[in-house]
């Protein structure tokens, strides 16, 4: 069993850049551009690993170790989410709170690394990231709490086993609200369009890019890979919590293959959704982001309240 769970985690980490490539490609096709190849992110990572690692004079040990801690925390978070099979490496004992706070660990060290650069971009990115993450934490946790209350367990593996037993057609209000809240938070957390534009370098709007402005070479590669992994972890979390049907019951190879196929299909659907959203909405002004996250919080609180009414 252990090797299966390790494989699942490695699968998530491996396909992370691919997911970003697919999203970029789909956005290009929607805006009828040809767009770069789907494997472009892997090439970028390979290139960055070979380049020089530049550090500003004022940088301290935190600047050098921040990318590594960010990467480590995010990859450990990946070990929690059941992807192909019901049980994940740490999914049985650890629960979603651990996952959320591991992501918080990576975010915290990323903003520290940004502040260490000594330029105003780092501070700007860290300050905005602090705003977004502070307000995103409530809906993220409350959405998962709502589902956990219904499933009567906090471990992700437990939630998956409970949801699989529910029949597909009867959609509960709690799940709908929780999914909406978590979807909004996923967009905010991974810095997609309405909250932050991953491709821009415009001081007025960038959050994630501003933090990593000083990084280059292997450090930048680790950070980019980590943010890709974070995106795929959040998508996998959404799939596991809300649409786990199709996960392999047993350990036989055909079942796993079928489950992997189902997982990839679901990820593709979500990627398509992200691409459509990003192509149709403009980025929100910085001071409208709190309202965006306010809506997510309201949805999550409603979900929690509904769990009590549903009983």
């Amino acid at each position: 069993m252990i090797w299966l769970n390790v494989a699942q985690a490695l699968l998530l980490v491996a396909i992370a850049p691919l997911v970003r490539g697919v999203i970029a490609r789909l956005k290009a096709r929607i805006q009828n551009r040809r767009g770069a190849s789907v494997w472009r992110p892997y090439a970028d990572l390979a290139k960055l690993f070979r380049k020089e690692d530049l550090t500003p004079p004022s940088a301290s040990i935190v600047f050098r170790f921040a990318p590594m801690i960010v990467f480590a925390a995010t990859v450990t978070a990946a070990a929690f989410v059941p992807v192909v099979h019901g049980s994940a490496l740490l999914g049985a004992t650890g629960d979603f709170i651990l996952l959320v706070y591991l992501l918080a660990l990576s975010r915290f060290f990323l903003s520290l690394g940004a502040m260490d650069g000594g330029s105003s971009f780092g501070g700007m990115g860290a300050s905005r990231e602090a705003l977004v993450s502070a307000l995103a934490e409530v809906p993220l946790l409350l959405g998962l709490v709502a589902v956990a209350i219904l499933a009567r367990t906090a471990t992700l593996a437990g939630i998956v086993q409970w949801t699989v037993r529910q029949d597909f057609t009867q959609i509960s209000a709690v799940h709908a609200l929780a999914f909406a809240a978590l979807a909004l938070v996923a967009i905010a957390e991974t810095g997609r369009i309405p909250v932050d534009n991953p491709t821009t370098h415009l001081e007025l709007t960038m959050i994630h890019e501003a933090m990593v402005l000083e990084y280059s070479g292997p450090s930048l590669a680790l950070i980019e890979w980590a943010s890709a992994v974070k995106l795929s972890v959040l998508l996998a979390l959404l799939i596991a919590v809300f649409a786990p049907w199709g996960m392999a019951g047993g350990v036989s190879v055909p079942a796993l293959a079928l489950a992997t196929l189902a997982f990839l299909l679901k990820v593709f659907v979500l990627a398509l959704a992200i691409a459509v959203v990003e192509s149709s909405i403009a980025k929100l002004r910085m001071y409208l982001v709190p309202d965006f996250l306010g809506v997510a919080s309201a949805l999550a609180i409603l979900a929690v309240v509904f769990t009590a009414l549903m009983r």
Binding site: F49, D53, L54, T55, P56, P57, S58, S60, I61, V62, R64, M68, I69, F71, A72, A73, T76, I97, L98, Y101, L102, A104, L105, R107, F108, S111, L112, A114, M115, D116, G118, S119, G122, G123, A126, S127, R128, A130, L131, S133, A134, L135, A136, E137, V138, L141, L142, V145, A146, A148, R152, A154, E214, G217, P290, I301, V304, V305, T307, R311
Partner: protein, 657 residues
Amino acid sequence: MIQTFFDAFLIGLLCIPAVILVGGRQRPLRVLASTLLLIGLLAGTAVAGVCFWRGDRLAIDLSQLTPLPFAVAVDRLSAFFLLLICGVGAAVTLFSHSYIEHHYSGQRRDWLWALLPLFLLSMMLVVTASTAFAFLFGWELMTLFSAGLIVIDGDSERRRHSLYVYLLMMHAGAAAVAAGFFLFLPNAAGLSFASMRTAAALMPAGLRTAIFLLAFIGFGTKAGIVPLHIWLPKAHPIAPSPVSALMSGVMLKTAVYGFVRFGFDFLGGGPDWWGYLVLAAGAVSGVLGVLYAIAEHDLKRLLAYHSVENIGIIYLGLGAALVFRAHNAPVWVALALLAALLHTLNHGLFKSLLFLGAGAVSHAAHTLDIEELGGLLKRMRTTGAAFLVACCSIIGLPIFNGFISEWLTFRSFLAGSALGSMPASVVLPLMAGVLALIGGLAAACFAKVYGVAFLGRPRSAEADHAQEVPFAMRASMVLLAAPCVVIGIAPGFVLRPLSAALQPFLPGTVLPEEAVAIAGVMPWIAAAVLALVFAATAIRRVTRVTATWACGLPGLDSRMQYTSTSFSKPLRRVFSQVYKPDRTLEILPADRPYFPTAISYRSVRTTSFEKSLYRPAVEAIVGTAHRLRRLQTGNIQVYLLYIFMALVALLVFMRFA
């Protein structure tokens, strides 16, 4: 054997002030005294540890000597708090060994060394007292000695006002606690904790509620629950750093100890609205505490507000425990209490570490305003590292101890949602949301503090020339940082004895399975993260130092970095209702706005509990005093009239009564 060790330790601590006051002048004698204190406290930690882990019971009874029954008894719960006091006390003594030598001289220094052991002793007396007289004796002495230590540190109009508010509120709180104790009397034989426990069972509900509310207000004042917190950001910053570390890290915990003794040990829980009251207080304190902290840029005031926030988190745990007690779900009560007590220990560790860090920063850079600091990590490597560990712990990041207690609190809220009754299954999960908000905001605040103060470029000459602090201070900070990480990675060795400590008032509860789960998974997570970090360092790389990117312009100076005010600006805008800031922008010269020589921006928080709640009350009292003063007219005829009227009034009262 432990008993004699414990007595020797107490007596030893008692005679240190005498030694210092007598021979404080010579340096060797002072060094001897401080090392004696350090050894004493380490022995105290050992004794407390043995009592806590092995569960021995110690007792000292001085009732024949003292005018009223005065006894000390150490059970597991007291041992837990004793461990916290002695442990943090030892680290603080080590720190102040060189801090006091540098910053104070002559009589001030002698008095500091004399009052410090007495302050620690009074706190130990509070947590180990087993009669009301002993408890109140220690409780008032604790305030007195801390006030003495604050007075030594200096004198100014603002300090006097802060000290006055502190002493007055502590006295009012002590009066409420005393009333809470005395209300046991109609039913209890004496004022010893044992007789109070037996009396609590046969008391009418009304009396139990009165006692609970008095305990809540009395201990809430000392702990710093929001409406009663105004002394905390005034008193802690003006104390010497080692003393404010003790006050924030340990003294607030004696209030939590008192509240747990009253709420769970004596009264044994009550109706569920008690729990919701405590939850509400905890939530409001937590959120407002962290929001006020975000707006601060004086390091000590910021840390003081964070004490309010962390006490809020502890009260959230206690509130959940009270709700479970009302629904008599003993396992979940154990879980919630475990969470609250563990957070008390964790906060004791990292908050005192933060204050010692602040002391080290003020020692090195002579200022505590983080707007003028920056780049201290490169100049003060150990202090920076220890401060980073403390920041991660207070936010509750996984590998550090703060996370364990916040995680347990989350799981107790989650468990609470399974309770059938209506309010509980909605309120408790929402409290999980509140805790998440507090955690998020704390992360933002400490990213600001650490980023602005320790990273980036120094913003002032002092910050630039900051030197690393002497060895004793560094050693004490490392001594406090180590347990933060150890408890974070392997919480099991603290959780098991702690749940055993709850046995007396939660009979038959075993270690909750959530605690077992976290104790199991945390080592693996830590191992995974450390392994991946090690793997990442293995990547071969060529590093080169180049100038920071400044959009190609030359001359990037330190003032272009984000300051703490600008960092917290977005969050302050979102929560502007909480601050209701009154902003003033001044451009000089006024007549040529487009060619300014100087622009000054000032934003002041106008909402303050002191103005809206306390000022009217004080004015009413002083108003009555002035009206009463007019009764003393000075005219002898009026005085005689008072006597005759009093006589007539009494005769009429007697006639018709």
